[in-house]
């Protein structure tokens, strides 16, 4: 069972309290202001990095505070490098890897 730290509650809790919500930082195309092609919609809706390694992703503390937050998790070891609030900037991978050495 994964242990996940909710950045809002500041507590490390069992995976069962959380739901996974897919890749983080996927920006919706700006359809209000420009023409979006089928390929751009495809990329937004369906194409994911699916990386083998550090993965930027969203989680929701469903059975706690109920809030969405972001995380970087290594998909090979399932180890979390960091969890951070939605309003926090996307952390640089190089900084995270340095810290976790």
């Amino acid at each position: 069972m994964l242990l996940i730290r909710c950045p809002y509650c500041q507590q490390t809790l069992p995976e069962l309290e959380f739901t996974y919500a897919g890749q983080a930082h996927v920006a919706r195309p700006d359809a209000a202001n420009k023409q979006i092609s089928d390929e751009e919609w495809r990329d937004f809706l369906f194409i994911r990095t699916n990386v083998k390694g550090p993965h930027y992703e969203r989680w929701r503390h469903a059975h706690g505070c109920g809030r969405f937050f972001n995380a970087v998790r290594d998909t090979v070891s399932d180890r979390f490098l960091i969890t951070y609030k939605v309003e926090d900037p996307r952390p640089e991978l190089s900084d995270l890897l340095e810290k976790s050495e």
Binding site: E15, R42, D43, F46, I47, N50, H55, E57, T75
Partner: protein, 417 residues
């Protein structure tokens, strides 16, 4: 190579089974091939077999990062059925089922295909409606699938608890009698043997690290742990690792990789006559010919390449099994494992050409591609040989995610299959 028969069995019995030949050589890579297939699972090996047998293309290598059949082919719960909702899926899976029927004879290798029937339990009104819809759609497509009352389901599968007080009441079931199971390893071995007999090289423990393209964009070969190997055509059939391999050719895939788990019990005498699936409570169960109960679980909620999977899922699955089959309450489980499955947004496979000339892909089989093995392999070989879609795999394009022409089995079943 030995032709298996009663006579060869008898002859080898007399010498204590010590003189059987190796079934395929451990090949070393040549400098160049007409076709390289990345991934020696059932799909990749099968495609090599049909390329050689039906299209006369024998200068072929199947390359795997591990042992052949060590991926999901050797890790699945072997459920075979074809009662899918949409016409496209019904055609593809039923084509596979037709091939399963004669596969042992075709390969001269016993794949132990057993059409013992797959029973899908309906626990609520939604299940009843959705299964009946499947049954009607299947009938129009000539795919066998029938509705059973709870009593009929109990007759077909006596260990089932259909009492009114059951936590997951059985309101009926859909039965596909032609469906069943097969010996997963034997499928990989049978295709490997048949392909290698016809000149295909099977190269194991040799990860493909990148796909190489020439200045015109065409595929030129693959980079591997044992150096560059040239190829006129490359077909990627690497299940959970497909997006990683395709990335190196500059093709981004609509795939996410999740761990999917299964477990087996200690072996016991025959108690369980068929396959039972309960989509609503996420439990699949059958009994292998060795006597173990084979139990399938769900996917973890998060993407991962850990090939392990989390314990909460196992607990959930076992709890569901014990509710539906109280007789298994005190069975001991022997081992559990995980495989990495490649899931598409519509839960249908991607099988065909790619934007890169000479590059083909077979993936997205997710939690349910073992049953498709002969059909996927057979039509992939066609597409690679002729550089055009086969009538059956034609709808399963990569482009559908841009055109919107999805084959939305995800919405149809809403669960693993």
């Amino acid at each position: 190579m030995t032709h298996f028969s009663a006579l060869s069995l008898l002859k080898n019995a007399l010498t204590g089974h010590k003189n059987w030949d190796a079934q395929w050589p451990d090949s070393q890579p040549k400098a160049e091939y007409d076709v390289i297939i990345v991934g020696a699972g059932g799909h990749g090996l099968g495609a090599a077999y049909y390329l050689a047998k039906e299209h006369g293309i024998t200068n072929v290598a199947v390359i795997d990062k591990g042992w052949l059949g060590g991926g999901n082919t050797g890790r699945n719960t072997t459920i075979i059925r074809s009662n899918y909702l949409y016409d496209e899926s019904a055609r593809l899976y039923d084509h596979a089922l037709d091939l399963w029927d004669g596969l042992s004879q075709e390969l001269n290798y016993n794949v132990m295909y057993s059409n013992r029937g797959v029973l899908m339990l309906a626990h609520n009104v939604h299940d009843v409606q959705s299964f009946k819809r499947h049954i009607h759609a299947n009938r129009l497509n000539g795919v066998d699938n029938t509705w059973l009352t709870p009593q009929e389901a109990k007759e077909y599968c006596p260990p089932l608890d259909i009492s009114a007080s059951a936590r997951f009441p059985v309101m009926g079931a859909a039965l596909q009698r032609r469906a069943g199971t097969a010996r997963h390893d034997a499928v990989a071995w049978g295709y490997a043997r048949g392909a290698s007999q016809r000149g295909v090289d099977i190269i194991q423990n040799c990860p493909v690290t990148a796909i190489r393209r020439g200045p015109d964009g065409r595929v030129t070969g693959v980079e591997t742990a044992r150096g560059f190997i040239g190829a006129k055509k490359v077909a990627v059939s690497a299940a959970g690792h497909t997006s990683v391999v395709m990335d190196s050719a500059g093709v981004r895939m609509p795939l996410e990789s999740y761990p999917l788990q299964a477990l087996v019990s200690e072996p016991v005498k025959p108690v369980f006559p068929c396959v039972v699936m309960s989509n609503t409570v996420h439990a699949y169960i059958s009994q292998s010919d060795k006597g173990e109960l084979v139990i399938g679980s769900g996917t973890d909620q998060y993407t991962s390449y850990s090939q392990r999977g989390g314990l909460p899922l196992i607990e959930h699955t076992v709890a569901a099994i014990c509710e539906i089959f109280p007789i298994f309450n005190r069975m001991r489980m022997l081992r559990k494992w995980g495989g990495i499955v490649d899931v598409t947004p519509d839960r249908s496979a991607i099988l065909g050409k790619t934007p890169v000339p000479g590059l083909y892909v077979n993936c997205g089989w997710g939690t349910g591609g073992f049953k498709a093995t002969p059909g996927a392999a057979h039509t992939l070989a066609w597409t690679v040989a002729k550089d055009e879609p086969h009538a059956i795999n034609a709808p399963f394009t990569l482009e559908r995610f841009a055109t919107g022409r999805l084959i939305d089995e995800a919405a149809a079943a809403a669960v693993a299959h």
